[in-house]
Structures are given as C-alpha cells and as structure tokens.
C-alpha cells in the first residue's frame, strides 16, 4: 500500500547533494524519482530508490540525517482532470497533501508520489475509489 521514501536533510552548501548521490552510487542504488526543495540554509531531498533501507544505512554511516517515510505512489491515467479528481476525494475527506512530486513510469501513464496527512485513511479512501496504488514490489518491477 505504501512505499518507502528516503528523506535526507542536507545543508545548502556546495557539493552536499553530490555527496549524497555519490554514497548511493557506491551502494549500487538506483534513483527512480526525486524531489529537492530548499531554503537558504538547508534542503530536504526526497528519493524513491531501488533499495531505500540500504540507502538509509549507507547515508547514516556517512553522517547524513536520513529517514524512511511511508508515502503513496499513485498511478494516474494520462488524462486531463485525473489528478484533480483524485485530489477532490482527498479534500472532501478533510485530508491534506503535505507534498507531492512526479514519478517517472516506463509504462506510459503518469504517476505521482504523495504524502497525505493521514496516510492510512488516505490509502483506504483511494482504494475504495479504485485508484491504483503501487506497492514496493511494483516499484522494483515497473520502474527499475
């Protein structure tokens, strides 16, 4: 139902992002999707990877503050209004989207990663509306 996102705290400094990517490369971890937002002082890097647990362990070992977060990976048909429709279910249920970013998909349709305020409730809700959610296994199978 959920997939594991790797979240890394990085100082807004030259070379910090590259150091994170270097660690993941050394571990042979493939990055499927990412989002990077920044303030003047620091950034949060959110990653969907082929092996989130190994990525977290390797980053921690190198002194990064890294954690695993449960997020929803939602399959979307490439259609006008589909994302709006899904969000309308979420909003009507009184839930909030904390963040969202796109997930590349080899199969041709669109997909997104999103973190919703009450993840369990959101997952049950979307399933009841027949919205397709990817599992961790799906991610490995479809995206890697």
């Amino acid at each position: 139902m959920f997939i594991k996102q790797l979240s890394v705290f990085i100082e807004n400094q030259e070379g910090r992002l590259e150091q994170v990517l270097e660690v993941l490369k050394q571990e042979g971890i493939n990055i499927i999707s990412l989002s990077l937002a920044d303030t003047s002082e620091y950034g949060l890097l959110r990653l969907i990877t082929s092996d989130p647990a190994a990525g977290q362990a390797a980053l921690k070992k190198q002194g990064f503050s890294a954690m695993l977060t449960d997020v929803l990976a939602v399959r979307l048909a490439h259609q006008v209004g589909r994302l709006q429709e899904i969000l309308s279910f979420v909003c009507k249920a009184g839930l909030n989207v904390e963040y969202m970013y796109a997930l590349s998909n080899k199969e041709g349709d669109a997909s997104i990663i999103c973190k919703i305020s009450n993840g369990d409730e959101a997952a049950v809700l979307l399933k009841s509306k027949e919205v397709e959610l990817f599992s961790q296994e799906d991610i490995l199978r479809i995206f890697c």
């Binding site: 979240s7 705290f9 100082e11 620091y42 949060l44 503050s65 973190k115």
Partner: protein, 433 residues
C-alpha cells in the same frame, strides 16, 4: 572514602594550619621572588603585616600576565637545580606560562590528586584509563601519579586513536575514565559506531572529568551514553596553581571540596578586586601555601564561582566551590548582554532533537552583534514544518535564558568538530573585523 585526615579537620584547625603556612610562604616569596617583592613594596606591605588570614587581602594579586612577563622562571622561589619537573600551559597567544615542581611539590600534588580521586569514587581496585593528552599539559600526569599512588591500575592511553581507546576499555576492563567531558562524549559515540553499547559492553562506572566546564546538562549527556549508574564528578585545578587536584566533587555532587591545607580560596569582585563576603559569586582567587617552586600568592583564576562553607554530607569539612559558571575570559558580551557559553550549552543539551555538539559564532554586521549557533540534527525529519518548529523552539528557549535572539543553523550529524582536549566551541569573529 576520605583519603586524608586533613579533609575532616575543624575550621579552627584548618585556619591554624593555613595561617602558619601562609606566613611562611609570604616570608619566603618576599625574600626570594624579586618581581613579587616589588609588587609588595609598591603596595606598601611587608611580610610581618600578615598576622591573620584576613590580612591576606592586603597582598597584591598575581595574574597570568605576571607569569608571561617573567617567562620562564622569574616567579620561581627555588634555584633551577631544585626543580624535578617543568610543565607549560598551551600558549594560544604569545609565550606559554611555565610552571616547575620540586620533589616535595610533586609529593603534594600526588597527595592532592589521590584525595580528589577518592572523592570521585576511585579505589585501588579501579582500572583507570587516562584519556588526557600526555605532555606539557599538567592534566594527564597529575591524574596519573595521583591514581597510581592510590593503587589503581593505570592505562595511560592519552588522546587520539579513539577506536583503540575503546578496545583497551573493553579488553582491559577499564572502570574509570579520565577525560574532558567533550572527549568522554566522543569516546561514547565511537563505542557506539563500533557496535558497542557503553552501558552494557564496557564497565566504566566512574568518570573523573576536568579541564573543561562540566555543566549539569553535560553530566546528563554522559549518563545517557555511559549509563545512569556512572558517577561523573568534575575536578578543578590549573597548571599555574599545580595542575588538577585543587578541588573535586564528592559523591553528593554539591560543589568541589578545596584542599584547604594547601590552598586558600577567596572570592573577589573581578572589576574592583575587593574581597566578597562568603557565599557571594565572583572571581576565584587562590593562594598556594605549601608549594616550594612556584608559590603563587593571590592568583587570579578568572573562574567565576562561590564558596560554600556549610558542612557536606560526605563528612569532609573543607570549603566547597560551586561548579563553575564560567570564566571571565569566556564571557561574551553580545549586544550589551553578558553571555556565558555554559548557559547556551545548558539550553542546547536539553533539546533531544539535536546532538550534544555545538558551535557558537559571534560576528558583527552593520554595527550590531550577531549570535549564530550551529547544532547537529540527530532526529531525522521529512517535512520543513518540523525543521522550522525545531528552530523556533531552540530560539525561544535561548531567548528565555539569554534575553537574546540567536540564529540557529541545523547541520547533519558528525559535521561539527570533535575535541580530544579542551573543546573550543566559541568563535568570536568580531575582533578580526
């Protein structure tokens, strides 16, 4: 365990010994130490003026500058061939300060350290690992001979190579750790990185820490890492006075007992030099009354504390000095407000999302002081809201204690510098502009 009978004498007995030793010392110093005789002459005081302990306040002070001005041996009261050891303090600016010892001085030093080790719970059964840097610094050798005299098994591992330090601790069954508080924390972290739990896999139950302030928050961090049952005591000294062994905490952790048969403490107003009544807070001034080579009289330590004369539950009758609240040297004046780094430390260590390491940076921009504090984020976060809330919380707590706004910089774990000797966590960049 109380090491020496001198620690439980009555006030009258202590004062009798002090007066006798003080007058002997003043006579000897006046006869043998030219620069101090000149100071006394200028102040219009002669040795025979010292008739009671109160008369001590008639004597002029000695400062670190006097030691520098008389580098290296100008304040010594014995000829050089009577020295058996020479130490020097790290001179970060200019010449170091040099201290010397006769055979009798070393014996006294050893006795003083054995006393403070006993206060801190040490016995002859302990395996004591000394993680102070050996060399010209008095800390390591001071503790070394005091603990050896007690009969403990010494592991003189010095600083550095922290993994090996942990290996010794594990394989030798170290029960007592001597280190600065910051290095003791670092060693605990290294043990964890090696996959060991210091509480279970190591047997360290006593921490004798010194050479740096031990705040209550830092003591709490030590317990978190090394176990709640560890007895962590701080002890006090400085090379100018002898080295470690001037005073130490007993198991009741209510101030450091001063070895009063060897040192007379006073508290003064650091601005006026006037002696303050018992119990008031001010700068600690120490007179050495039993030393041969370098018997400093009324040495200004620059450490801020107060003296507690009430008897202690441990049975010792010697006066206690409250754990230091800072050094006049360390005090920062930021936007007109006096700030001791120890106040900042107390706040930071009480916040669980950040680690025990920090750096304080003071700069000046547009004629205004800026206080910036770097801390390590140890609890990972996934949303900005939490980072902002954490910054806000730290700022708020600092404002309550300091009355100042600080800029908080969150950093990844293990980015801030770790220290093996004295930690240097303050960067005051205003002077350089």
């Amino acid at each position: 365990m109380i090491w020496a009978k001198e620690e439980t004498m009555s006030r009258a007995e202590i004062e009798e010994i002090q007066l006798k030793r003080l007058t002997e010392t003043v006579n000897r110093v006046y006869a043998k130490v030219g620069p101090y005789r000149e100071k006394m002459d200028q102040a219009g005081v002669v040795p025979s003026d010292i008739k009671t302990l109160k008369d001590l306040s008639k004597l002029p002070f000695v400062t670190k500058q006097d030691m520098r001005d008389n580098y290296p041996f100008g304040l010594f009261a014995v000829p050089k061939d009577e020295l058996v050891r020479i130490h020097a303090s790290s001179g970060t600016t200019g010449k170091p300060t040099v201290v010397g010892y006769t055979k009798k001085d070393l014996k006294m030093w050893t006795e003083c350290v054995s006393r403070i080790a006993a206060m801190g719970g040490a016995t002859e059964k302990d395996v004591a690992q000394i993680c102070f840097g050996y060399g010209m610094f008095t800390g390591a050798l001071g503790l070394h001979f005091g603990l050896e005299n007690m009969g403990a098994a010494l592991v003189p591992s010095s600083t550095g190579n922290s993994e090996k330090q942990i290996m010794y601790m594990k394989d030798f069954g170290t029960t007592l750790l001597v280190a600065t508080p910051s290095y003791a924390l670092r060693l605990g972290e290294v043990a964890k990185e090696m996959g060991l739990d210091p509480k279970k896999d190591l047997q360290v139950k006593i921490g004798l820490v010194g050479s740096e302030l031990l705040t209550e928050a830092m003591r709490g961090e030590m317990h978190k890492l090394w176990g709640e049952d560890m007895l962590v005591t701080s002890n006090y000294g400085m090379s100018e006075l002898m080295g470690p062994g001037v005073s130490g905490e007993c198991e009741y952790l209510c101030g450091m007992h001063i070895n009063e048969d060897y040192f007379i403490p006073e508290i003064i107003n650091p601005k006026t030099g006037e002696v303050l009544p018992p119990g008031e807070k001010g700068e600690l001034v120490i007179t050495c009354i039993y030393k041969e080579a370098l018997p400093l009289i009324r040495y200004r330590t620059k450490d801020i504390t107060r003296l507690i004369y009430e008897p202690c539950k441990c049975g010792r009758t010697t006066v206690r000095m409250e754990n230091l609240s800072g050094r006049t040297d360390d005090m920062l004046k930021i936007r007109g407000v006096n700030v001791f780094p120890s106040q900042i430390e107390e706040v930071l260590l009480g916040i669980e999302e950040i680690g025990p390491h920090y750096e304080i940076i003071v700069t000046r921009k547009n004629h205004s002081d800026l206080l910036e504090i770097r801390v390590e984020l140890v609890k990972p976060v996934d949303v900005y809201r939490e980072l902002e809330a954490l910054e806000k919380k730290i700022k708020h707590k600092l404002r309550i204690v300091l009355g100042l706004d600080a800029k908080i910089r969150l950093e990844s774990p293990n980015t801030l510098k770790r220290f093996e000797g004295k930690a240097q966590r303050v960067k005051d960049l205003r002077k350089e502009v």
